[in-house]
């Protein structure tokens, strides 16, 4: 985690001074102190919210920079729960909800997991009147049930971009088409699953004029056929991020798709890597806050989500966790440089999440046959 501490240390040094929240925190401490005299009341009022975030780097950053600030501002204690990636957490939440248990009250969920959870009515609807700051969230990052009730609210966004080793590629590639270049034989590292690599969308945007081409089955087959052409360029189809990251840094696998934030942190740490937003756009993926229907802390969850949607917190997330804001950039105080570190003004490729619920098994089967066969 060396590459992360460097950046965080820099930002910690930048974020000096006494903030409004520090004053609020003082007030909060006073209130707690007053309550200590009456243990029964403390117990009755003890406000704890279990929040699920991806384990590892994400959870560490949230626990270090975000949750303490939230507790100071609101008096609500956060118990951070490490979520596994993939859909394992969704399965666990669903199984637990059947037994009326909530391993976490609020969880950060991927978009595909949001949709799958919604089809099982796992998410308790949000009451937007209790979340004034939700109005600032970009509309496509607010998840809705078919009847219009809100199931999830954008938590953070991140980009998957075209990354290269600067020693092997002195010149940065400018298009996703570089993945198909015969000169790059056996040089690529790509994500191994159809539902997390979003390469069908990349193919559609690069060669078929946009992700709308994936509307029809014929369009999807076109993209599979085109994708099959880059197979001989791929050295590694990775599920585990660490595996590709190490190979990218060493130049063993000098090109591929990877997370913009982590690549930026590695570059800032002096590693010979760079992340490029291709002219077709980076892949914009995001996580949403959602509350399981088994949670009894719905009110606290509303306070939490409202807090997280504030422009100042979205800016803090960009600086400390490296994610892109889920609200309009102009509402935040991020500088151009800070914004460029986490995002780009090039229109992004937005994954076709709808396909991964309506046709997930078919797409998965075709995908596996394509890369294994």
């Amino acid at each position: 985690m060396n590459e992360t501490t460097g950046k965080q240390g820099l930002h910690a040094a930048l974020a000096g001074g006494i903030s409004r929240r520090a004053v609020l925190a003082g007030a909060g401490t006073l209130a707690t102190a007053a309550a200590i005299g009456f243990p029964n009341i403390v117990r009755a009022q003890s406000k704890t919210l279990k929040v699920g975030v991806y384990g590892g780097y994400f959870k560490e950053s949230f626990e270090k920079h975000i949750f303490p600030e939230f507790s100071k501002a609101t008096g609500i204690t956060v118990e951070a729960i490490a979520e596994p990636t993939g859909e394992a957490w969704l399965v666990q939440l669903e199984q637990a909800a059947r037994a009326r248990q909530a391993p976490a009250d609020v969880s950060m969920m991927s978009q595909v997991a949001m949709l799958k959870g919604a089809s099982a009515e796992l998410w308790a609807p949000f009451d937007l009147s209790k979340i004034p700051n939700a109005a600032k969230v970009v509309p496509h990052l607010v998840n809705k049930y078919p009847d219009g009730k809100v199931s999830g609210i954008g938590a953070v966004s991140w980009y998957i971009t075209l990354v290269t080793n600067t020693k092997s590629y002195p010149q940065a590639p400018d298009s996703w088409a570089a993945l198909w270049d015969p000169a790059n034989k056996d040089k690529l590292g790509l994500l191994a699953l159809v539902s997390n690599s979003f390469l069908l969308e990349v193919t559609a945007a690069t060669f078929f004029g946009g992700t709308k081409h994936l509307d029809s089955e014929q369009g999807q087959l076109d993209c599979f056929k085109k994708l099959a052409e880059l197979k001989s360029n791929v050295k590694l189809w990775y599920r585990d991020e660490a595996q590709f990251e190490a190979s990218l840094k060493s130049g063993e696998i000098p090109m591929g798709q990877y997370y913009h934030d982590v690549t930026g942190l590695a570059a800032a740490d002096g590693q010979p890597v760079r992340s490029t937003f291709p002219k077709e756009g980076g892949i914009l993926d995001s996580g949403s806050w959602a509350v399981t229907r088994a949670s009894k802390a719905g009110d606290l969850a509303h306070v939490f989500v409202d807090y997280m949607c504030q422009p100042s917190i979205q800016a803090l997330l960009s600086r400390k966790v490296g994610t892109a804001p889920t609200i309009d950039r102009k509402l935040t105080d991020l500088t151009d440089q800070e914004f460029a570190a986490v995002s780009s003004d090039i229109a992004p490729i937005i994954p076709r999440y709808d396909l991964y619920t309506s046709k997930s098994d078919w797409l998965n089967q075709k995908w596996t046959e394509m890369i294994v066969g």
Partner: protein
């Protein structure tokens, strides 16, 4: 020592605990898995209790047949190679002085403590172009320029055999240590070369041990799902890798369960066949 069948509850008691463990940790989970494998998959959601065989039907295609045969073939190859290397090694090991034997065994046990992840990363580094063993060959003038040897079938095989080797030695060790040295000495006195004595006396004498060890390594290698991802190309992904994909990434438990049940049944059948063949040879 009197050997007779145990009578009454008290004499059966020692076996109750392992039996209970077997039920709790094998019979119940495996039954649950069989149950889930006939549940109905809800596309874009989870699954609902039902009695359908669609999950098995999906599995019965040429594609999965190919993956299945590759997995079985790979596991068999790993088993044969591991035993082929470990048997002569252990044979030499039991003849060493006691102190040297203990040092070797401690060394092998310490390899066992390495996780699959560490083994995978270590081998992929060792076989890489940038930091791998080919740089040494270049320095020695054996190669013109460093090459990448991973991911490849050879890399995967090396990783799996490396992982299985300590187990194999530890299973073979007791049998080889107990082997009566006079048997071999007798063969030598009667004029056979050391090599001939090894193949005509030692190997046949321990045939059952060798078969049992091979089966154990086979089953052990069949469950491997991390090394094929780290050291192999997609065509080297085993069925276990695809099961993991379905269970963890596609939340398709019924299909994952169906594949797992199929894998268990096929490997049980193969193990049964191997044992049967062994017994028939014995009686013949």
């Amino acid at each position: 020592m009197i050997r007779r069948a145990p009578r009454g509850l008290a004499e059966h008691a020692p076996i109750l605990f392992p039996a209970l463990m077997l039920v709790v940790f094998f019979v119940i989970p495996f039954s649950l898995m069989i149950a889930v494998s006939v549940f109905r998959r809800v596309p874009g959601g989870f699954y609902e209790p039902d009695l359908v065989f669609a999950n098995y039907e999906r599995f019965l295609t040429a594609f999965f047949g190919g993956v299945m045969s590759f997995s079985l073939g790979l596991a068999a190859l790993v088993a044969v190679l591991s035993v082929g290397i470990a048997f002569p090694f252990t044979y030499r090991l039991v003849k060493l002085p006691r102190g040297a034997q203990i040092r070797w065994l401690v060394f092998l046990l310490s390899i066992l403590s390495l996780s699959e992840v560490i083994i995978g990363f270590a081998w992929s580094t060792l076989l890489s172009r940038t930091a791998g063993i080919t740089n040494l060959f270049v320095a020695l003038g054996l190669m013109a320029e460093p090459q990448s040897l991973s991911p490849s079938f050879g890399a995967l095989l090396a990783g799996l055999v490396y992982q299985a080797f300590p187990y194999t030695v530890l299973v073979l060790y007791p049998a080889l240590a107990r082997l009566d040295p006079y048997l071999e000495e007798a063969a030598r006195t009667l004029g056979s070369s050391p090599l001939r004595a090894f193949f005509t006396v030692v190997v046949p004498g321990l045939r059952n041990t060798i078969v049992a060890t091979t089966i154990m390594v086979f089953v052990f290698a069949l469950g491997s799902y991390l090394l094929p991802q780290l050291l192999g190309r997609p065509q080297h992904w085993t069925l276990s890798v695809l099961i993991t994909d379905q269970a963890i990434y596609q939340s398709n438990m019924p299909f994952a369960a169906a594949m797992a049940v199929f894998l268990v049944l096929v490997s049980l059948a193969l193990v049964g066949l191997a044992l049967l063949a062994g017994r028939r040879e014995e009686t013949a």
